[in-house]
């Protein structure tokens, strides 16, 4: 490929920044569609996804893990998440890396030989099982996380975190951070786009690093001065150091039913997978 250092890093960084924006916009779109998980109370959703995550983590049994992955797929389907997208999103990233990382474990994990290969290599049975454990656990956990993200608008997710006893002050900061991530994303995007549009020739890596560091430094100064402006704005609106959130969630019978159903499944999985 003939794309070397040219201006690649700016495009790459721009692509990464845009990707984050794109991802959260996509999540917002899906979370507004009609579907099973979308209809649930966000607090119920957080608790049920967490209990499923825990059961994935606690289960010591491959068929149970496989069924939990099946459950994640089923939930995705019931929540009108395009399955091909869902599987790609989950498998193309983390489990793929995990597979690469876990590959040597097939051979170096001590245990009875399962398949003998040329060059004296041998896949051990324990190696195969442990790699399967890792892959299934990682892919199911990532699937569950993606389900939560895709079916919950971020404002609702943030408010629902209070059920985990996250202190209000911490939630306030979380919410502000999420909001300002987008402002800083756009700022950084503008900075890189304007820089990119003024670059004609090749950049030496050292020069590119210097420009990146300058962008980071500028972004830091902007963040700091913005923080004091935001503080003044908050003060002008009566902020005295306390925060309150409006909690408009209402538990309906369907929430109770789904919540207890999923927690029951999670507990069952833990029990079956001991």
């Amino acid at each position: 490929m003939s794309k070397p250092i040219r201006t690649g890093i700016f495009e790459k960084t721009l692509a990464d920044l845009t990707h984050a924006l794109e991802q959260s916009l996509f999540a917002e779109t899906i979370s507004r569609q009609a579907g099973l998980l979308q209809a649930l109370d966000p607090r119920v959703k957080i608790i049920s996804i967490l209990s499923l995550l825990l059961s994935v983590s606690l289960s010591h049994n491959l068929p149970v893990l496989l069924s939990l992955y099946g459950l994640a797929l089923l939930l995705a389907w019931l929540s009108s998440i395009p399955l091909d997208f869902f599987i790609k999103r989950v498998w193309l990233f983390m489990p793929f890396f995990t597979g690469l990382i876990a590959l040597p474990a097939l051979f170096i994990t001590p245990g009875p030989v399962f398949v003998s290969l040329p060059f004296g290599l041998a896949i051990t049975k324990t190696g195969a099982v442990t790699v399967l454990f890792l892959l299934l656990r990682v892919s199911t956990s990532v699937s569950l996380g993606v389900l939560l993200i895709l079916t919950t608008p971020w404002t609702a997710l943030l408010k629902a975190l209070s059920i985990l006893r996250v202190p209000e002050g911490f939630l306030l900061i979380l919410g502000m951070t999420y909001r300002y991530i987008f402002l800083l994303l756009l700022t950084a995007e503008d900075m890189f786009l304007s820089r990119r549009s003024r670059i004609l020739g090749r950049l030496r890596p050292a020069e590119a690093r210097r420009i990146l560091a300058a962008s980071a430094g500028t972004l830091l100064s902007k963040s700091l001065s913005l923080s004091s402006e935001v503080y003044l704005a908050m003060q002008a609106r009566g902020y005295r150091g306390q925060s309150r959130t409006v909690n408009a969630f209402q538990m309906r019978s369907i929430d109770w039913a789904w919540g207890s159903g999923i927690i029951f499944i999670a507990a069952l999985a833990v029990w079956l997978g001991r």
Partner: protein, 384 residues
């Protein structure tokens, strides 16, 4: 074929493996390390996750408390913006000599400019948002990820930076050097902790027949696999970004570099001199830990006791023999189960000891530094 002979064959095989294969894994390791070490769910057992989460609680508690005392109401937007900054900086592709690129965490930079307590909260929040809203890094593993990147990285970087830069003027070149060393050593130690967290899994959590249930690699693989690629790539990126931003700020925005000396702006009082010795000791200790643990790790393969004898040593010191068994067991033909008995306690206590000491040190530092009444109130804040 017996198990140990199979292993020995694998061992010889790895050593005599075609160069391409070894290069493949080296490159893979390097490449993975550029995506920083966000541990996903599934690699760590729930027990580890709970312990790491519990280890984070005092840091979060005292970090928030300190922010509230020193910067009052102003802390909310300040930390929020810094967390957002940390989130964005993780997306910057930094070119390295040789054409590859890597990402920085930004924890070292925030720690150096605003103090490690602010960095703990800001980076933690960035990591929590990544886990809950973007699916990067596990939700159950939040405690472990925060411990590595939001505690170890900022505190070590800050300590190293302070040890090198000390009270030298803002424009001093020592600050640049200190920033690079801080970022470099900070991230390397953080990777070392991640290696410990991975390496402890197969020891503690396996089925009755020894099948590892979570991350499968023992310390002898997990620690070098985390530390070496980081030393070659990600840590350089962290160091470069930190020092280059400091250089840029030295040229363009002095005030930011003075924040840590001006409590009215960000609450980082001038208490560093009093604690500097403490920081230096802490940094040295933390830095030496991986050396001590890694040395026997590299002994496997090249510096085994038989080689030592061959090299002219008439006897092998007891300690080396012991440690050799400790690290070499899973790979050098020892029975795997032997690892589970005598040496297990040693390994666990070493790892737990490192974690407990870091937690206690962090607490001690926070308690020592939070009781400075003259810095409690922000003079510019009308409500204080």
């Amino acid at each position: 074929m017996s198990f140990s002979s199979a292993l020995q064959r694998v061992g010889t095989c790895v050593r005599s493996a075609p160069r391409g294969v070894r290069v493949y894994y080296a490159v893979l390791g390097l490449w993975l390390s550029t995506t920083a070490m966000h541990i996903p769910d599934g690699y760590l057992s729930p027990a580890t996750c709970v312990v790491m989460f519990a280890a984070m609680i005092p840091f979060w508690y005292f970090g928030l408390k300190k922010l509230r005392e020193k910067i009052n109401a102003r802390s909310a937007p300040l930390v929020a913006l810094l967390a957002a900054f940390s989130f964005i900086i993780m997306m910057f592709n930094v070119p390295l000599p040789g054409g590859t690129t890597g990402h920085a965490v930004g924890g070292a930079l925030i720690a150096i400019i605003l103090g490690p307590e602010v960095a703990v909260i800001a980076v933690s929040i960035a990591l929590i948002i990544q886990a809950f809203f973007f699916g990067d890094g596990g939700i159950l593993a939040i405690g472990a990820n925060c411990f590595n990147m939001a505690v170890v990285l900022p505190y070590v970087s800050y300590a190293v930076y302070q040890a090198i830069a000390g009270k030298h003027p803002v424009e001093s070149a020592r600050r640049t050097v200190g920033a690079f060393a801080g970022g470099y050593i900070g991230l390397t130690i953080a990777a070392f902790f991640a290696g410990i967290e991975f390496g402890i899994q197969p020891l503690l959590f396996h089925t009755a027949d020894g099948t590892p249930l979570y991350s499968p690699y023992p310390f002898s693989v997990a620690i070098p696999a985390m530390v070496i690629p980081h030393m070659l790539l990600a840590s350089i990126v962290e160091g470069l970004v930190t020092s280059l931003v400091i250089v840029y700020l030295q040229r363009t925005n002095h005030e930011i570099l003075m924040i840590s000396a001006n409590p009215a702006i960000a609450g980082e009082a001038g208490h560093t001199a009093r604690l500097r010795i403490f920081w230096v000791v802490l940094a040295v200790l933390i830095f030496l830990t991986p050396l001590g643990l890694l040395a026997p790790g590299t002994a496997w393969g090249e510096w085994g006791s038989n080689q030592l004898t061959r090299m002219g040593l008439s006897f092998v010191p007891q300690g080396i023999k012991q440690l050799e068994g400790l690290w070499g067991a899973p790979l050098a033909g020892y029975k795997f189960t032997s690892l589970g008995n005598a040496n297990l306690g040693y390994i666990i206590s070493a790892a737990v000891g490192v974690i407990v000491i870091s937690v206690l040190t962090g607490l001690l530092v926070t308690v020592l530094t939070s009781g400075r009444p003259e810095n409690r109130h922000d003079p510019t804040d009308p409500h204080s």
